[in-house]
Symmetry: C2
Subunit: 343 residues, 2 copies
């Protein structure tokens, strides 16, 4: 029996990277995937940590991701940079495009990175944080699978469509948020089902389109957007900008393409980067103005988004990351047996 | 006593324009302001129709808007175009910048229009619709006054910070939404106060930061953002991008500047425009893909945003706009007496 262990951040990265290399990913792909999974675990985001590895490998075993994909960058010198992920996981495509995006935002003021044909499993905050680390503000969004009904509707059509934003804070952790535009994550409904507890009102509708607090009925029906018609509108905007506009799949198209929501979705992603210096253009210091606002938010006791994550990061950097015996056993099993160990 | 009248859209425009000319606005300013007020009335948006005229004139009489301002465009060839509104109303500044923004989005894929030092009273949908009319997708946002507490906070700090988006639908009315990021508009709380009815839960907090359903306590306290911490995060993003980043006032700064929320706020605005053709880059038809999605939303009975507004527009174009006797009397009084008639 493997014991619970404490790993340093680089040790965890090496362990995760080794699994993906063993399963046939290129070093570029394996490193990029391992970086975001390690970041999730480091930040106490268990839902985007080592738990994700098996889902990635299941998608790989089903032949729905290209392990040897080499993302290709196309840059016509405009404010839009494209990376064709070639059916590989999204992180390698993002890592290829991000430095060009940041450089273009500094040159043009605003720029966009389009990622096409990627398989997505990562949170968006690691991407947004790469850009705040380059001094840019950034916005990121992507469709997912049709599991959310539009406000006033009766059937799943929109995805949980995450939306993330980051603002650089010189000398401090950035202002970052990243959330699903559904009122709750599908995993939260599953947790209620297992616990036998009813859902809060307003989370979901059943297969007939009626409001339900029964988790099983909700899983057979559709989730609802956050914030009623406003959240539904934002989710629709994400389908249009990061699906239709970039020539990639909307959430219903992604579901139809795979015929299942049990594997990771294939679609595109849109990231916008802004250079605050270029935008402010000498009219005051944008960073100082932002600090006044953010300090006033925190000063009245309202938690800034990501602050829990940043605290976990500080602890992990000092004390390492503790994995349970089960988690460690999974890493060892996947490293030793590769895709044979994947159900 | 003036009777209720039916005006054609151009007749209403002329009547509104005449008032602003009489009160000292330049033809450029008066025309632009009259266009958005007429559009509000035409679309059945009474809250942005002729009702707004007195608020504009009150701000003018208080010396807080520059009636003779000539907006100035600065274009360094990058993806960011700026218009300095010079302390005038926002619509003239927008009208100056919008064609350049659309042209730059077509050339660069994505572009931004920054408006600085404007006095704001307009909805954002008229601006977004100008850009969809040019074949661009568009996003618009601005701070307002500190009247909304951040989620988890106790005091007004954020504005009602509107967020709007538009997507062009060839041969059809565009997909457009425009909403406050507060759960309700201040005017709705005032209506509850007058009617003596309690507020729904979750709309507001009192001066001590406690949840309240008492409209008077809410007006002395703060409104809450829509969608809990997610809406609060979006509202904060608007402060950062369309306040701090563009070198213009955040909502607390705008309130401190005027010392009152009874006059129209002075601040800036950020508009992003996207060329779907440039973004799709030959990977399918972005407009066809969008129609499939939007038809599926409408097909399950979920109303698309702005559809009520577009129906009102069709009626107004066919049958004209009916103003009440009181509204007509106000237009006549303001035309004849100018600022002397303003309290």
């Amino acid at each position: 029996m493997t014991e619970a262990v404490n790993l340093s951040i680089p040790q965890l990265f090496d362990a995760v990277e080794a699994i993906f290399l063993r399963c046939g990913l290129t070093p570029q792909q394996a490193g990029a995937v391992a970086r975001v999974i390690t970041a999730g675990e480091r930040d106490g985001c268990k839902s985007h940590g080592v738990y994700r590895i098996e889902g990635c490998l299941r998608t790989l075993k089903a032949g729905k991701v290209v392990p040897q994909a080499r993302p290709e960058l196309a840059d016509d010198g405009s404010a839009v940079i494209r990376v064709d992920a070639g059916g590989g996981f999204s992180p390698a495509a993002f890592e290829l495009g991000a430095p060009v995006l940041a450089e273009r935002a500094r040159a043009q003021g605003v720029a966009a990175l389009v990622i096409n044909s990627c398989v997505h499993f990562s949170a968006l905050w690691p991407e947004v944080e790469v850009l705040t680390g380059q001094g840019c503000a950034a916005m990121a969004m992507c469709p997912s699978y049709a599991t959310v009904a539009p406000a006033g509707g009766t059937k799943a059509l929109l995805g949980t469509n995450p939306f993330a934003f980051g603002w650089p804070r010189p000398g401090r952790m950035p202002y970052v948020f990243d959330f699903a535009t559904s009122v709750a994550a599908r995993g939260e409904i599953e947790l209620h089902r297992r616990a036998g507890t009813p859902l809060p009102e307003g989370w979901a509708i059943d297969a007939q389109g009626h409001p339900t607090t029964d988790p099983a009925a909700a899983l057979g029906g559709a989730m609802l957007p956050f914030g009623g018609h406003k959240g539904s509108a934002i989710s629709t905007m994400i389908e249009l900008l990061a699906g239709a506009m970039i020539g990639d799949m909307t959430s219903p198209e992604a579901l139809a393409f795979l015929g299942s929501d049990k594997l990771l979705p294939r679609h595109g992603e849109l990231i916008l980067a802004f250079s605050p210096e270029r935008f402010a253009s000498g009219l005051g210091d944008p960073f100082a103005r932002a600090e006044t606002l953010l300090d006033a938010i925190a000063g009245q006791g309202a938690r800034l988004p990501s602050s829990r994550r940043f605290s976990a990061r500080t602890r992990a950097e000092a004390d390492g990351i503790v994995l349970t015996a089960d988690e460690m056993a999974m890493l060892v099993r996947l490293r030793d047996q590769g895709l044979d160990a994947v159900q």
